[in-house]
Subunit: 445 residues, 2 copies
């Protein structure tokens, strides 16, 4: 609709002017106009607030990395989606498609001076050249929370409590989202138990179960090298609905240990009151190659959208990148799907409204006076606006409405009002004589 409007505007307003609007936003990227950005900021602020409450520390990295940081580490799919470039010295670089390799590199560079466990968060911008569609763009933001140097399931517990707190802080409830939890270590143990060694291939096949018919799924498993018996085993396995049903599948020592760990994670989260948000979901496998333990994904309850968030344990990544062995567990939450969900549930704040506390209007259109009063208001912590040129009072009031100002202050250099100004509350229509301090109080600053 917007592009249609722009096209029409183009025709109507600039009929013959050459390359009008010829340069557009690159495909799969967004422009964040102020009414869009204000909501983006709302999401980022809530994210950050929840992270700090839960004791995570912020970090960031470069927007691009040496290409070799990704090739062979992140899994083939994501490498195919890289935006690559060379700098002027011919070094191969790539725009970051995910944050975890950067994190692992930083942890490696920090070396033994790293205080463990390190609970870190970041809101990186990421880039993946894939088909742009609903809920998926080529350029997006993704909150990342990670804990490095925590071997026990306390890491998973901490992350899952933080996710729950965060989503609840947006007003979402257990009627809106669910965290599906599974375990790569169980899968890996079962593959060993059945002497299958193409782990990555089987993970990729299992990952497609939800989108496949039983026949298509059987075909995928067969292509991954599973014989009929194995296929039937994993088809049954994927139909498991709870831990009681899962237990009999885990026969070896390794499988039992992995089951016990998962069981303990559920028990702990239940005791901590997060039980209503979590469920065993063996369809959760995760696309990236580096996961080694518990994996999880957060979905809208109706499962009508892509995953809101996903993550898991990756205990070998820093080592794979040539550094010390530091255990890791983390997750990412993209901005696009979350924003769609919050919009659908009516949980986004009103755009731009109340970004202005006071609009300063002047009867004789005295811009200098408007500047002066506005600056005094800003000194008191009030967000203030005024017209930037001589305009009739009617035009000034239009502007104050456009900005959604809480109050209009009428300034008049001629009037002797003992430092008091006529002030109108735009919501109630009430008018009062206020000093600037009284106005600050009324605005609760």
């Amino acid at each position: 609709v917007q592009s249609l409007f722009l096209f029409l505007a183009h025709i109507v307003f600039f009929p013959k002017k050459g390359p009008i609007l010829s340069i557009k936003t690159p495909k799969g990227t967004r422009d964040f106009f102020p009414d869009y950005q204000v909501i983006q900021d709302y999401i980022f602020d809530k994210w950050k607030e929840a992270c700090l409450l839960s004791g995570y520390q912020g970090y960031e990295g470069p927007m691009f990395e040496h290409l070799e940081l990704y090739t062979g580490k992140s899994g083939d799919e994501i490498v195919d989606q890289l935006y690559t470039l060379q700098d002027k010295k011919g070094r191969d670089l790539a725009l970051r498609p995910e944050m975890t390799p950067t994190l692992a590199r930083m942890i490696n560079q920090k070396g033994p001076s790293l205080k463990k466990p390190a609970k870190w968060f970041s809101i990186p911008r990421l880039f993946r050249y894939e088909k742009a569609q609903k809920g998926r763009l080529r350029e997006f933001f993704q909150l990342n929370l990670d804990i490095m140097g925590c071997e026990g399931i306390e890491g998973e517990v901490d992350l899952l409590l933080a996710i729950t707190r965060m989503l609840k802080s947006f007003g979402l409830t257990q009627a809106d989202f669910q965290i599906g939890i599974s375990s790569r270590s169980i899968l890996s143990a079962l593959l060993k138990q059945r002497n299958v060694d193409n782990d990555a291939g089987v993970y990729a096949a299992l990952d497609k179960k939800a989108k496949s018919s039983p026949e298509a799924f059987a075909k995928l498993l067969s292509e991954a090298g599973l014989n009929e018996e194995d296929q039937s085993f994993f088809a049954d396995f994927m139909n498991v609905k709870n831990l009681t049903e899962l237990k009999p599948f885990c026969q070896t020592e390794e499988a039992t240990a992995a089951f016990d760990e998962l069981n303990s994670l559920f028990e702990t989260l239940n005791k901590l009151g997060a039980g209503e948000y979590i469920a065993l979901d063996l369809h959760v496998v995760r696309g990236l190659a580096y996961y080694t333990g518990v994996v999880f994904e957060v979905f809208d309850k109706a499962k009508s959208m892509r995953a809101i968030a996903g993550g898991g344990r990756y205990d070998n990544l820093t080592k794979v990148l040539g550094g010390q062995a530091v255990t890791g567990v983390g997750f990412g939450m993209g901005d696009v799907v979350l924003r769609d969900l919050l919009e659908e549930k009516g949980l986004l704040p009103e755009s731009l409204a109340s970004q202005t506390d006071v609009f300063v209007a002047t009867f004789n259109s005295d811009t200098l006076l408007a500047f002066e009063v506005s600056e005094n208001l800003r000194d008191l912590g009030l967000k203030s606006q005024h017209s930037l040129k001589s305009q009739k009072i009617k035009k000034q009031l239009d502007l104050s409405n456009y900005f959604g100002a809480k109050y209009v202050l009428f300034a008049d250099a001629e009037a002797n009002t003992d430092g008091k100004f006529e002030v109108k509350n735009l919501k109630t229509g009430e008018q009062n004589m206020f000093s600037l301090n009284e106005l600050a109080e009324a605005c609760d600053v």
Copy 2:
């Protein structure tokens, strides 16, 4: 020093492990470890706060644009510094080296629906392939404030008041910074007055005055096509110290109008109390090609660093990009020089300290209890931390010190304390029995 340390750490701790630490941060980019990021966030928050107070609305754009948005619009120097790439369909893209072309493109796309004046701000990440050195990196952040659709000097006034407010909010005073102001329109009128038509060439030469000897400067002017008489005129012009000295240079109607505008800007800023922060500085020319009116740069008073900020009026940019004519005036302030200056002046906050309100310690190392109490504290708005594994109380207290926690709360499942906990203030050493609500009050949440 840091890289030396890493190199030594590499030798000492990982003597024979193959490609250890071989993947580094790309040249001219930064890793933002938590103790660095917390200060970065401080700068961003202050920037944002000042922008909102002064009535600017946030916006953002894509991290890369179609290459043609920059070629020929931004001036040659910046085009030479572009990081270019192609997407998988062969489209030519470039990482954004500055925000103004994106802004102009967005304004063009908005078309006639744009409410004017539009006061917008953004904190984009920018990329320029140039020699990495003190105060200059290849990847940096730059606050941008712009006003679109304001013809009068009220636009410049508004921006310069916002800069001043912002720098003062960091604790900087007029002893620390100065805003040098000049005018491209005066220069342009003088060039016309003397029948010189190589405007861009002369601007480039004048821009180098400060770094050149009188002889070298004369040579630059000569190379820009100025005859001896013109050279002497502009050498004298650049030595002008105040508006009184400047006036006699402006003889034509156009030059007089440009002078009057600049004079009026100084008068207005003086009346609004900003006089102590500004000075006429004809050495300010600005590198970018698109400026058309007043230009300005902010320097540390000692002029020992690169410019803290710079900007000016660019009235034709949207039209050059093929859109409607919308006047613009704006500036950019990079994070690198500002951070250096704040550090030099001792104005940065203590890193990471007080990011933790409460550290929850447990005598019997009961991680579940620590989680439970922490979650209750977080519900009350307190930033809480605890150990993620069973650890002796000594180790837990080490951790609480590392995090710079304000309080340590001792939780003990066995003790019957009527919902009260032993709490120690780590600053004063004082110990009290507090309920969680009392602790929240003590933390002023």
